[in-house]
Symmetry: C2
Subunit: 648 residues, 2 copies
């Protein structure tokens, strides 16, 4: 079996394609067989499938956005619910502005215009890091919020499950993690069915609702759940309205998903992606407005026990019949699928950051199934932690949510505005190649700059509203977390840069050959393992010293006698250790030897180690080599080699 | 500085006395400066100090034994408390039998006659292991019970501390652990003061109590604590009486302490130790009987909130005055000191077991302060776990307690009986040297055999009573734990024995010299660290192959080009890994090379590793050497060497 090929250019290099494929195991059963790099997907999708793949996150927010507006207004009593619909209209207008703004990004960045890339190209590294930190934070929160909301829908239909909501949520996060570790190759169809099912059943529900409203037969919600008792209703202040507005803007999350994934579309991809974005925004706005309007008509109340969607559905359908269950099922499924957008975007963004040396390299390695496994697992772990901390309560998670999204909207739109300004100052025909796109003169640059600038301004206002209204309720966590993340990015970047500089071979003279190799052989007692290590030491150098740390004179005498027989005539040094310390006298001796050495002299410490297949056996022995390595790793020119001797 | 001495017998051996003493640090502040082996204590103690050192465990059990009898009787209502004193008399008789029996052990084993040694000498290995397991279990329970009872006394005086009892108990266990890790050199005086203080204050209390009883002025306890409500009082059955008796036998624990520590006494040590044992048993019996009698006279009730001792003291002294507090303080201190007996005996017994290869060797190493640190820490850890599990409740711990002690009593007395029988069959003047003592003919062997035999029989009956009456309440835990411990001992023993056989040099031919040394150098990329490793590899052998696992063709091309410049003309093998796996293709390659090697050929895998002083940096890199070592450690003839390159 000689499966090497000589390199075509360099006869000194041999190639060998490893045929290694992991055997079937629990791992392959969960995650599937490994995929070769050549299998990376080339498939592209049309508008209809594109809508299904990218809209689940955005559309799913209709499941909780209305309710979260009401939660805030509830502080002023049910009378304040009259503001739900006006606030929803304001949010729908904001949605339109952001969508139009993003439509321009889709055309400018045909290879994918996620906030990190757009900001990095146009505003520089630091703003890009801020955008990256903001987005990572929000992807995690998307998972936590969507899963918690999905489980809240289930609990609305089956109240006995209320006590198990945290456990169910964690189970779902792990389930989706596993699916994503397998890789979502078959995404097209898998996504199309539930997304279109949700769009269909939600459309039917709101239409039936509106018809019943128009015919006057809608009525009020029966047996509404108990709302959290309000001790003394506050007045309806502008602050309260702004606070409710900021909670409702959760509806806009997910709108940026298409700009990240333009590459997945069929050509002309920017056009196709742009049209899909407009569709998505329209459907989202229609559903959100209709749900908000109907919810305030039927007298729905916000509650942890039953969602507003559930109250709406049983009022419209007059009970918990098949249509009710069909809507709850559809909502739950789309909420759970919404997390999949985060599972796609978080690992990809962390891989970008890792390639730019802002995150550990591991985030940029594709796993055996071609996905960024580290990012997927990290996302699931942090989301689970959040779900446990916030007990799967959407209302308690919402104050943390959307801050990051709107911050990245602001940065991204500002970057686009800056881009148009630069484009406007190029000569016609001149081209500037950026990392993410190509810049050229654009006749309409002023209009485009105004559109993106206005988008940036509006979202900036929303960020400020967040910072003020949601600060005490939890937004402060995010506002502290983002600078910390940026600091971590910077630290990692500096580390990799310094390391690369210190390891660089530029202007590096060829290192001198090692002139002398000294070997120190540790002998705790003389047995077959020691002899194996001695035999190995003899191949390394002629300059070998055996060393025994003597804590017990009787034991030392035994070692001495055996060494006379078996020690191959080598010098034995006894380190008498009256304080019965093992490591310290040894370290002192080694440091002493190291100090006295000549230039270009290296010291190898050979440690005999017997090993047993039974892992628990190792608890019965001291692992000298491990501790020595820990203690000596920072000393240059000392190598520690443990020579294993297999006893079974 | 050349501080080596040539060995007087063998000029090839050099001695060096390490002057290494650890610098002052947090560790030395807590545990004290290390002590040289030559400092092992030679001091011996007289009878008065001996009583103080060894009696705290035994005497302290008077603090809870009466109460635990009452807890069981309470099931039949307060009327059953009439049985407290008769049961106490039965226990006192048992105490006398056991004490007389042990008095004979003290004389037969002047070097220390702990149950493990006596049983090993006279009954063999398996019974010795059972005795060892039983004793280890009970030493742990002594710590848990004594500390819990000590804290119960504190809580009786200061009820607000009730909620913190578990925390206080854990704190005390750790505190005593630290004292014992320092080593109890000054034990004489430290022990004498509180022990004699307790004996004095308890003697005054019971005498005042008896005088007040005789003069008819004792009265009843005021505001007794609420007893756990009894739903339907059971009848006073023989089973209930036996159950109460078995709980009360906790009074006997600690009686064996002197037989373990005979070596500490002044000559004639057996005589001194024997007299001390008789004193101790007499004081214990007197206190226990007096407390039991008075408690049933004043109508004390068992309770978790206030101990019987506390009720007794405030009835005798008519309130919580200075005498009351003096007694509670004395009782608390002696209970906490009682655990010190376990802290002395557990590590010593585990060291014996470790020397006989029944426990990991680490238990036999003396720490820097000459104490068996591993045993001390193990004892504290398990005792803390028990206190947490049983929430520092003496009543819940008691069913587990004393089973082990009585089992070891039975085995030890049986061993002594067997010993007299053997001694009786020796010819006068004939001597048999056992490991723990010397056996010779004894005129009174029949009488002595009967005394020890009777002791064994009585304690065996108690063990059986335990097994029946306390089984369901928790004794089953101990009855399962002891066989498990024995199994663990056997497993460890087999492991060490097999290991010694496999490592033995008896009939071992000198191993052949290594004929060929092949080096495989891992190259993930070519940088200064790689060159350092290459430079090292060149000192090992002429047969060096560099290997790169190629997951990315662009990266592989870079490595190839750099290798041409820097690779010293060495062969480079590219392992093309289309599945982006790192370890597996490498392992496959190494196994392939290993299979094809000649006899007496060794393979060294050299792994370049850059190291940074900042530990967290290592999170940013993959630790290839570590994973390879894990994967290859069971392959004979393969050595893995990581060559560190310090980047800062």
């Amino acid at each position: 079996m000689n499966n090497y090929d000589q390199d075509e250019h360099d006869p000194g290099v041999l190639h060998r394609a490893t045929e290694y494929k992991p055997p079937r195991s629990l791992r392959t059963w969960f995650l599937g067989r490994p995929l070769p790099t050549a299998d990376a997907p080339h498939q592209t999708i049309g508008k209809a499938v594109g809508l299904a793949v990218f809209a689940s996150d955005a559309l799913s927010s209709t499941a909780y956005a209305t309710q979260e507006i009401m939660v805030i207004l509830a502080a002023a009593g049910t009378i304040a619910f009259g503001y739900v619909f006006p606030i929803a209209i304001a949010i729908a207008i904001l949605l339109a502005i952001v969508a139009i703004s993003y439509e321009q990004t889709v055309h400018a960045y045909p290879n994918g215009g996620g906030a990190y890339i757009v900001v990095r190209d146009n505003l520089g590294q630091l703003p890009a890091q801020i955008a990256g930190a903001a987005l990572l934070t929000d992807y995690i929160l998307t998972v936590a919020v969507s899963i918690s909301s999905g489980v809240a829908q289930i609990v609305s239909a089956f109240p006995t499950l209320f006590d198990y909501r945290v456990m169910i949520s964690i189970g779902l996060v792990i389930f989706i993690m596993l699916i994503n570790l397998r890789g979502v190759k078959e995404s097209g169809v898998t996504f199309a069915i539930p997304t279109y099912y949700f769009i269909g059943i939600m459309a039917i529900t709101v239409m039936v609702g509106i018809i019943r409203y128009l015919t006057g037969s809608l009525g009020q919600v029966m047996d509404p759940p108990t709302m959290h008792a309000i001790e003394s209703a506050v007045a309806v202040t502008p602050f309260l309205i702004l606070h409710a507005f900021s909670s409702g803007t959760a509806a806009l999350t997910g709108i940026e998903a298409i700009s990240d994934g333009i590459q997945a579309f069929k050509e002309p991809r920017s056009r196709n992606a742009g049209i899909t974005l407009v569709w998505m925004a329209s459907i989202l706005a229609a559903f959100f407005l209709a749900i908000s309007f109907l919810a305030s008509q039927i007298g729905a109340v916000p509650s942890e026990e039953e969602t507003v969607i559930s109250q709406l559905a049983r009022t419209i359908y007059g009970g918990q019949g098949p249509f009710y269950l069909a809507l709850i099922a559809g909502t739950t499924v789309i909420l759970i699928m919404a997390t999949n957008t985060s599972y796609a975007d978080f690992p990809r963004l962390s891989a970008f950051l890792a390639m730019d040396s802002y995150l550990p390299r591991q985030f940029a390695f594709r796993g055996s199934r071609l996905v960024y496994s580290t990012g997927i697992v990290a996302l699931a772990a942090v989301a689970c932690a959040l779900i446990i901390i916030f007990q799967a309560s959407v209302t308690r998670l919402i104050p943390l949510y959307a801050v990051g999204v709107f911050l990245s909207f602001t940065l991204s739109q500002s970057g686009m505005a800056r881009r148009w300004w630069k484009a406007g100052h190029l000569k016609p025909g001149e081209k500037v190649v950026q990392r993410g796109s190509t810049l050229q003169h654009d006749r309409l640059w002023k209009l485009k700059m105004v559109i993106n600038g206005f988008g940036a301004l509006c979202t900036l206002v929303v960020v400020l509203v967040f910072a003020v209204t949601k600060f005490a309720a939890g937004a402060w966590v995010v506002l502290i977390l983002i600078p910390i993340l940026v600091a971590v990015f910077t630290f990692i970047h500096t580390h990799y840069k310094n390391l690369a500089r210190r390891l660089s071979l530029e202007n590096y003279g060829a290192p001198a050959r090692i002139a002398r190799h000294r070997v120190i052989l540790l002998v705790s007692s003389v047995h077959r393992g020691t002899l194996a290590a001695l035999r190995y030491a003899l191949t390394l150098s002629d300059d070998i010293t055996a060393v025994h740390v003597s804590m017990d004179p009787a034991e030392a005498e035994k070692v001495k006698q055996k060494w006379e027989t078996w020690g191959d005539g080598l010098r034995l040094v006894m380190l008498d250790s009256p304080y019965r310390l093992l490591a310290e006298p040894l370290l002192e001796y080694i440091e002493d030897v190291a100090e006295k050495r000549q230039p270009n002299e290296i010291i190898t410490i050979v440690v005999p180690q017997f090993v047993s297949r039974r892992w628990y056996s190792s608890l019965l022995h001291t692992n000298t080599a491990f501790w020595l390595r820990m203690a000596l790793i920072f000393k240059p020119g000392i190598v520690i080699t443990d020579v294993p001797y297999q006893v079974d």
